[in-house]
């Protein structure tokens, strides 16, 4: 195959896919006022997202916090400065690790399920059936899913932050000889040093996870709605959804951090 044609074809597909996702997000925003008609679906989707992601989030967050404390603590001990371990673990969890872990877990568990569900509906004519009944799939299927993840991702992130910090405290006390009191006092001081009701470290992390929730749901819905070609197409849709979600989590995470800590 001609390499030039292959490259342009690849780029065309990517741009086309990105355009579809942006268009879907804009259409979702346009149908937002109709959400009162979809409250049941919204609650169902939010509940499902919570149930699917909660156990994995708890386990991964606890170990992530523990690893973070362990790796940082080893270096801090060399300088005799383990007193700041709570500060570092709390800030890292709230600013970056909590939203990132939650986003990746939601992409893997809920995003993949959304892509599979809508992809199956697409290949079995259910999406066409909705259109034939003059029911807008964006309003009926996409809106409740996007809102559900936009709400659930920050909620799970709060939990992830807390469990991660707790995981770090266990390691700090058991392996690094940092007293639990010292660890928690430094962690709380770090998070409340700005003196505002909602510290910057927390609200930037929550905003990040809100953005991740919207991105994961929109990308996954788009992958499902564009599925074609039977079971193979559904499999590809799931793969596309998870891959694009993880890429977006990393890129958007960088953009939000850069905006709040360097630009503003």
């Amino acid at each position: 195959m001609n390499p030039f044609a292959a490259t342009t074809g690849f780029l065309h597909d990517r741009v086309d896919g990105a355009g579809y996702v942006v268009n879907l997000l804009l259409r979702t925003l346009l149908v937002l006022p109709r959400i009162h008609r979809r409250l049941r679906f919204l609650l169902d989707n939010a509940f499902n997202a919570g149930v699917r992601a909660l156990p994995v989030t708890m386990v991964v967050a606890a170990f992530a916090g523990a690893i973070l404390a362990m790796q940082t603590g080893i270096e801090l001990r060399r300088f005799g400065d383990t007193a700041v371990l709570g500060t570092i673990t709390a800030l890292s969890m709230c600013r970056e690790m909590g939203p990132f872990i939650t986003g990746v877990i939601l992409a893997a568990t809920v995003g993949s399920a959304i892509a599979a569900e809508l992809g199956t509906m697409k290949v079995s004519d259910e999406i066409d059936a909705l259109e034939v009944m003059s029911i807008d799939p964006t309003d009926y299927l996409v809106l409740p899913r996007v809102l559900a993840l936009a709400v659930m991702c920050p909620l799970l992130t709060v939990l992830s932050d807390l469990i991660g910090i707790y995981g770090g405290s266990v390691i700090a006390e058991q392996n690094l000889g940092v007293s639990s009191d010292l660890y928690w006092i430094s962690a709380i001081e770090a998070l409340t040093s700005s003196g505002t009701v909602l510290p910057k470290e927390v609200y930037v992390g929550l905003l990040k996870s809100f953005v991740f929730g919207v991105a994961i749901a929109t990308v996954s819905c788009a992958a499902g709605l564009r599925a074609g070609g039977g079971a193979l197409g559904v499999g590809l849709a799931v793969q596309t959804a998870v891959r694009n979600s993880v890429i977006l989590i990393i890129v958007l995470g960088f953009v939000v951090t850069w905006f709040f800590y360097f630009l503003s």
Binding site: M121, S124, D125, E126, A129, V132, M133, S134, I135
Partner: protein, 242 residues
């Protein structure tokens, strides 16, 4: 009346329809047959406005479908029912909720009126007993009957049937054929039926058209097609063609 005039449609790199002209008179069941990939289902999607023709015209009761805006298209679709190959029921809704869906979304009917109407159409298709079941737990024939109930619940003037007996055994197929004929006779609904099945064509149809390479190769009454010497008619209507 449904009219397609000189309709051309390309999907990807393939020319699916190449100058298709078909007229479906009111009150009749028109059966569209033809080899796979000749554009039968694509024709139905043009009639309901999911596809727009690259060239040519699609009219329903004199109104141009391709030029309709979203509002006009919604109004047209409310007058039409569509039975998909496998029923295309929404998996997480019960049979009754699936049938009620178009009414809940678009009508101002009360809950009780919707429930009564749903019961009425489920009764008509012999599915009242399964109203609380979910699509993954019912057979292919039941899904089709539920799909037909959903297509009929808004009292449509037209119903488009996409392979209504695909994958069904002869006994269930026979029931579906009788149901389609009954819908035409009792409710005066105009039908456009896409099928490969001789039994479906002869039992449900008033007129038959056979597609070849994206255009109509032969058209006539059921009798004319059954007794035609045209090779396609013989291939589809010959003994053992089911």
């Amino acid at each position: 009346m449904i009219e397609l005039q000189d309709v051309y449609k390309r999907l990807g790199t393939r020319d699916i329809l190449r100058g298709l002209t078909v007229t479906v008179p009111k009150g009749m069941n028109f059966v569209l047959m033809g080899p796979s990939g000749t554009g039968k289902s694509v024709t139905l999607k043009h009639v309901i406005g999911i596809f727009k023709p690259d060239r040519g015209n699609v009219r329903v009761d004199g109104q141009d479908v391709p030029t309709m805006d979203q509002k006009q298209l919604m109004a047209l679709r409310k007058r039409m029912g569509y039975l998909f190959q496998n029923g295309a029921l929404i998996n997480w809704l019960s049979v009754a909720d699936n049938v009620a869906l178009p009414l809940r979304e678009h009508s101002q009917m009360s809950r009780t009126d919707i429930a009564d109407r749903v019961h009425e159409v489920l009764e008509l298709v012999g599915m009242a007993h399964a109203h609380a079941q979910f699509p993954p737990n019912i057979s292919g024939g039941m899904k089709l009957r539920a799909g037909l109930a959903r297509a009929l619940v808004t009292n449509p003037e037209y119903v488009l049937y996409d392979e209504p007996n695909a994958g069904l055994d002869p006994i269930i197929s026979q029931q579906i054929h009788e149901l389609i004929a009954e819908v035409r006779d009792r409710l005066s609904v105009t039908g456009l039926i896409v099928t490969h099945s001789r039994a479906c064509a002869t039992q449900c149809g008033d007129r038959i058209g056979i597609l070849e390479s994206g255009r109509l190769a032969i058209e006539g009454s059921v009798d004319e097609i059954v007794h035609s010497d045209h090779p396609l008619a013989r291939a589809f209507m010959g003994i053992g063609s089911d």
